[in-house]
Symmetry: C2
Subunit: 480 residues, 2 copies
Amino acid sequence: MTDFTPLLERLRAIAGSAHVLTTGDLSAWELDWRKRERGRALAVVRPGSTAEVAAVVQACAAAGVSMVPQGGNTGMVVGSTPDASGTQVVLSLTRMQAIRAIDGANLTVTVEAGCVLQTLQEACEAAGYLFPLSLAAEGSCTIGGNLGTNAGGTQVVRYGNTRELCLGLEVVSAQGEVWNGLSGLRKDNTGYDLRHLFIGSEGTLGVITAATMKLYPLPACTLTAFAAVPSLEAAVQLLGLAHQHLSAGLTGFEVMGRFALGLVAKHFPQQRIPFFNAATPGPYCVVLEVSDNDSQEHARSQLEKLLEAALAATTASSAQPAASLAQARALWHIRESIPLAQAQEGLNIKHDISIAVSRIPAFVAETDAALEAAFPGVRLVNYGHLGDGNLHYNVQAPAGADAEVFLKTQEKPINTVVYAAVDRYQGSISAEHGIGSLKRDKLEEHKSPVALGMMRAIKQGLDPHNLMNPGRMLARPTGD
Amino acid sequence: MTDFTPLLERLRAIAGSAHVLTTGDLSAWELDWRKRERGRALAVVRPGSTAEVAAVVQACAAAGVSMVPQGGNTGMVVGSTPDASGTQVVLSLTRMQAIRAIDGANLTVTVEAGCVLQTLQEACEAAGYLFPLSLAAEGSCTIGGNLGTNAGGTQVVRYGNTRELCLGLEVVSAQGEVWNGLSGLRKDNTGYDLRHLFIGSEGTLGVITAATMKLYPLPACTLTAFAAVPSLEAAVQLLGLAHQHLSAGLTGFEVMGRFALGLVAKHFPQQRIPFFNAATPGPYCVVLEVSDNDSQEHARSQLEKLLEAALAATTASSAQPAASLAQARALWHIRESIPLAQAQEGLNIKHDISIAVSRIPAFVAETDAALEAAFPGVRLVNYGHLGDGNLHYNVQAPAGADAEVFLKTQEKPINTVVYAAVDRYQGSISAEHGIGSLKRDKLEEHKSPVALGMMRAIKQGLDPHNLMNPGRMLARPTGD
């Protein structure tokens, strides 16, 4: 058995004994966010600077010990916790949380990887700027984790994913070298775009230690509206109308299926869902958001013109703008309550898929029918970021069925049906959550072999000893 | 000497004899756009489909013959013409020009690499959508070349570079395999972002054969304004005001130095430059553009509010909106005439640099002074895309000096001064033109060795036999 004592001593010398954890309850680092897997770490190391991260990586690499970079440990696909071997070092970035600089004239912020997303949002707003990345875990997740997984969220229709918000990175390579790419430039054509290679690489190529991110002017006004639509086709048409009327003013467009809303009504009866009990309710509802750089009057006029056009074209059967900020929050809260309502209803099978917006109605009709035929009584909780073509297309056990048994016996065959349909529609089996270890085998099945070959060549080139988050995203070269 | 006859026969069998050119005047493919270098090709091959591209790459790879992918051959850095050896195959994509699909609901267009940019713009506009990439060579350059070099242009402040407009690629790998990544998805977290790796790789990793690009709603109205500013600092402040007032409505922001405008006035005296002869002219002028999704009235009101605020804050000394479309075109024409006026004035030393917007005034003050001290009488033609931090910071010989002699003797020392300042300001020595062979040695001097090491590892992994555009961007592994 390997003697890890010299390595642990070296790590303590680098980061300080208080920041090398080997005993006690390490659940915060070893157990994944959805509590699906518990690993065991050789140590949790919490370096306090880029230089310390580099030294830690060098020490681990010299000892042949693999590393698992970790931010807020809020990932959905078991990508940032150690395996069960007890031989991996968790490299936690949470002590590196400085906001190094806000450059107003350049509209950029430079921030260390461990900064919590909400802290970053608030600091930028306090300085008079918008940092638009926003997602459910924002109170716990870190910007480094957002970058490592290319997180999405609710503002992607306007501002893009984390990737699109990043101008530059500071990275510690698998060899423990520091690459300072924190330029904050909007144009830089000097070689391969290493930034985009590290973003979304889930810690398998190196460690992101800091980033320069884009800022935006704070909008003068943000308004929300809620609409019932007669079909998913109509929701797509409404999205097209919204793009046309609002252009970049459209900052949110979420769709919610009737059954998903029903779960919210059932489990959170204090919430008022507009149009939900109307005589002719649509099978889907939409919540949409407009941000305006001009004024509240202009925002309201724009939104009203859109809703009038939508009602006139019958792409919406009912629609109303929120009358107040409180009402706007309540409308968004309906959307945000769906995952919780679903959890209250019981275990379910989750899919985080994307399809070209134009093809979503046909995809859903076909896949709903296939699932209902193959798994009678199954209940479909369909909702998501329609503006980005991203659906959380989840499957709940039939009413009265034992959800645990259902999950155990039906998850695989249901996944097979859903992912086969995703393939036929040239969609993605992971729109915003990534691969981690949970979807690693699915990646092998569904990704183009040519693309997988290129990914392996890149991994081999940048991390030849397979020490950075091995076995995540890509199978180990040995075939694990 | 190698006998290339079997390869040429194979290429003729793949693409048809009419599309394998070996004799006659091949200048269109062998001479670079700026006429700096003439290479000699073994053959120019013009495949008509992705399958033919793949077969050509396989044939060349089997013969150990290297390939130079080429679009419209309008590059600025000698990156798409063959070397002088007569042993390279130019792989011209210009026959692959189909627009495969415009998907309005998904706001995407799928297009083959050889489609001319202007053709693509026009087809999208005819379908009711905006494809916003716009640059001087748009009548000749191809979208494949735009992707290979990550072209910039005049709309980057709003829509980003070519990179930011691309959702998916079809690529033929260095091994001649086809990767179909034409998904048109706005969210797809299934592995490393190969798309961004190929974009801007200048044909050194494989051949882009098609792409799915983003479309935008056509704006209801576009207005242009011209302003004189008392300093470069004031221009940066005006940019900040414009971001604040217009947000995503700001679709262009160009700065022009007084000497650059003077060259336009001298060589194109029929052009009227606003404020140029006024009593208190600013040392810089700005042309800016607002696009509005609402109406002409709203656009005009927004623009007037901005200009009033700028005059009140004395960030502009004079400002006027264009009164008509013809006047708007005339204002943009002033900006577009600077390179031509410069050419009329004589040979000059060009720099395509970027600096964080906030640091541009200090950079220019420092570098202007350094150049004026070291090269007395030197004339600085400073203009560019201030909204993106991208300056064309060019140097003209002193009045009356022999420009050719000046270029020959002073280009190197002047580059040294300029690029050293770019380094101090953490800028880029190639903002939008790329590296090619012209700046290859500069890349070695100015890019981080860690980043260069990663680039070499990626090149080695994806093109281990160095057959894709060898010696461009990166030196040959042997040290050429």
